[in-house]
């Protein structure tokens, strides 16, 4: 094995790993405040990148991206208000099925708007062939964008949860919803906020990764499955562990190309998912008491 090529694959794995981590964190944010897994999480990534591509036709790139993130956040809020806010203590099964339905509907709407064409945002700096080299490893500047933006997002989220008023209210809500409500926190608004946040993060990730992976109306489902795998791998609800989980999956997938046909690349995530579900559902870094009963 060529050592430079090895690092090249590692860099590719890290890029994908961060995207999976962002999707996983999106799962976590909503899971923490509501106790549900939003199966439509991958659809936010798709909506963000597709909207940005459309807007970029007549707006400069930064404006298009910011606008598309805002639009996706709005979609997130609308979805929460229309489909979840008014349900009174729904069962998990009911919620799962609603989010699955939403994922189908969003995908079909995207298909109606954008068709089956594969699109992409332009590279933020340079183009397809430009590269930055570190110790002989050539990587595209877009990879640095992905790693930079995603790690900034993770950091900002940590600060938000730790220091901001809304962030602390959301944590209170995640900890004990009833108690939070008794302390005067509007828990329903916190749920809406969690949808807005995870939609925004997903959309941002969708935009930065679009030049590398391209965007299509059906890109959401595989991302959702991998994001969920990563969320479980780290331990559901734990954002920093999700980053570690994302990097593990990304690098494993990327290195798997050495030993098996790339057609089976997707099987890695599913195998990890099943193994972790069967043997360690609390995740690699989770403690037993963290595993919520559902």
């Amino acid at each position: 094995m060529n050592i430079e090529l090895f690092f090249q694959y590692i860099a590719g794995g890290i890029t994908y790993g961060f995207i999976y981590a962002i999707v996983a964190i999106g799962f976590n944010i909503i899971y923490n405040t509501t106790g549900i897994i939003n199966f439509a999480q991958g659809e936010f990534v798709m909506l963000g990148s597709m909207t940005a591509i459309t807007l970029n036709a007549f707006l400069p790139l930064p404006v298009a991206i910011v606008l598309s993130v805002l639009i996706t956040m709005l979609v997130g809020a609308v979805i929460e208000i229309l489909f979840f806010r008014w349900l009174e203590s729904p069962t998990v099964l009911r919620m799962i099925i609603i989010t699955i339905g939403l994922s189908i509907i969003i995908r079909e709407i995207a298909l109606a708007i954008w068709g089956v064409n594969v699109r992409a945002l332009p590279y933020f700096t340079g183009n397809e062939v430009s590269s930055v080299s570190f110790w002989g490893v050539h990587i595209s500047p877009q990879v640095l964008w992905v790693i930079g933006v995603c790690s900034m997002m993770v950091l900002a989220l940590q600060l938000f949860f730790k220091y901001s008023r809304f962030g602390r209210q959301m944590r209170a809500c995640a900890d004990n919803r009833e108690a939070a409500r008794l302390c005067g926190i509007n828990t329903k608004n916190m749920v809406t906020l969690s949808f807005v946040l995870s939609a925004g993060m997903g959309a941002t990730a969708g935009c930065v990764v679009s030049p590398i992976t391209y965007s299509q109306y059906n890109m959401g489902v595989p991302l959702a499955i991998k994001g969920f795998t990563v969320a479980i791998l780290g331990g559901l609800g734990n954002s920093l562990a999700a980053v570690a989980g994302g990097l593990i999956l990304g690098i494993l997938e990327s290195l798997s190309v050495w030993i098996m046909p790339s057609a089976y690349k997707d099987a890695i995530a599913i195998s990890i998912l099943l193994l972790i579900l069967f043997f360690r559902p609390r995740g690699l870094f989770g403690r037993k008491e963290d595993l919520r009963e559902f």
């Binding site: 009911r94 799962i96 099925i97 699955i100 339905g101 579900l277 069967f278 559902p281 559902f294």
Partner: protein, 351 residues
């Protein structure tokens, strides 16, 4: 129980009536889609048992359907002539398990008899469901949903990526399944009505067995598991055992439907194993009201027939997505149990 018998009687009557009407108005081509709908209804019925009565979601039932369909498709089309001197083939031939026929191009094909294919497909589906079920059914809620989804995706990837399963093209030229001399499952025009009755009979038998099961000790145990698993466990119900049995049962029903429909259609493609198919079955079970055989049956026949006739056009998937959301939002008890006045009152009260 008596009420159920009457309902089953009415179902038989209705099925016969449909045949008589479509035949008398010369619309027998409807029978083709009706037969297909009946097979898909079988899958839904199995899933009603699992989701509605045992309370366990499965997002991988298209996987079992595909296991059934592909097993019999491969066994009944794979040409064994080049291996005709090997011991296995010789022994199988001696036992009368093989048939020799000519395909469309006059080529000789020596393959397993569809009886073997169908029986083996049930055995394989049962084995897979049993092995998968042991770890999977320990999970609950989202974890269970994701694990079954993962299983479904693996089956889809396997059939899509393996040459023997025809990859993206699937398996075609599957021969008719001759159940008895003169009675076979095939898409032949002159056997349309016979096939409609075969599928109807299967559905009626499954409905009958299910109503018996639900009103038995097993049914009560299942309802207890659905209501409160811990309570059922402490009352002496072996919950793991019951859940596993129902899972295997519903998988076998799905595989049976898959195998029969594959012979009826003369082939099977990877889309039968897709996640969207699994979601579709779940949508229909939900629309029928989860724990309702009759609701599931009605919705399965209606939605599948409309979909197969192409009434939903390019919005086929969207329709099922919308059904899922609307039912779960406004009528989690199923469409047949909606009380419009109460629903409106509820919505206005909340907003």
């Amino acid at each position: 129980m008596k009420g159920e018998r009457i309902k089953i009687g009415l179902l038989c009557l209705l099925l016969v009536l449909i045949d008589l009407i479509t035949t008398s108005v010369a619309r027998t081509y409807y029978l083709t889609q009706l037969t297909m709908s009946l097979y898909y209804t079988l899958v839904v019925l199995g899933l009603v048992l699992l989701m509605g009565y045992a309370g366990q979601i499965s997002l991988g039932h298209a996987g079992f359907f595909a296991i059934g369909g592909y097993t019999t498709a491969v066994l009944s089309t794979y040409n064994l002539l080049k291996y005709k001197d090997s011991a296995v083939v010789k022994v199988s031939s001696e036992l009368g398990l093989l048939t020799l026929r000519e395909n469309l191009y006059g080529e000789q094909i020596l393959s397993f008899h569809p009886w073997i294919g169908v029986l083996l497909s049930l055995v394989i589906a049962a084995t897979v469901a049993y092995l998968i079920g042991i770890p999977v059914l320990k999970l609950k809620g989202h974890y269970l949903a994701m694990a079954t989804l993962g299983f479904g995706i693996i089956v889809y990837r396997i059939v899509l990526g393996t040459p023997i399963f025809g990859e993206a093209d699937g398996v075609s030229d599957v021969p008719p399944f001759v159940i008895l001399p003169g009675l076979s499952i095939s898409g032949q025009m002159d056997e349309r009505r016979a096939n409609y009755y075969i599928a109807s009979l299967l559905v009626v038998v499954v409905v009958y067995l299910m109503t018996n099961l639900i009103n038995s000790r097993v049914g009560r145990a299942l309802r207890a598991i659905h209501g409160a698993e811990d309570a059922a466990e402490s009352a002496g119900v072996d919950t793991a055992e019951y859940k596993l049995k129902v899972f295997v049962m519903s998988a076998v029903i799905a595989a049976l439907a898959g195998a029969f429909l594959t012979h009826f259609n003369g082939g099977i493609g990877p889309s039968e194993a897709s996640v969207m198919k699994s979601v579709r079955y779940v949508a229909i079970v939900a629309a029928g009201g989860m724990a309702s055989i009759w609701g599931g049956l009605t919705m399965a026949m209606l939605l599948n027939f409309l979909s197969l006739r192409g009434y939903f056009g390019q919005y086929d998937d969207a329709v099922f997505g919308a059904v899922l959301i609307l039912i779960m939002l406004f009528a989690p008890e199923g469409l047949l149990r909606v009380n419009p006045a109460g629903l409106l009152k509820n919505i206005f009260k909340r907003s």
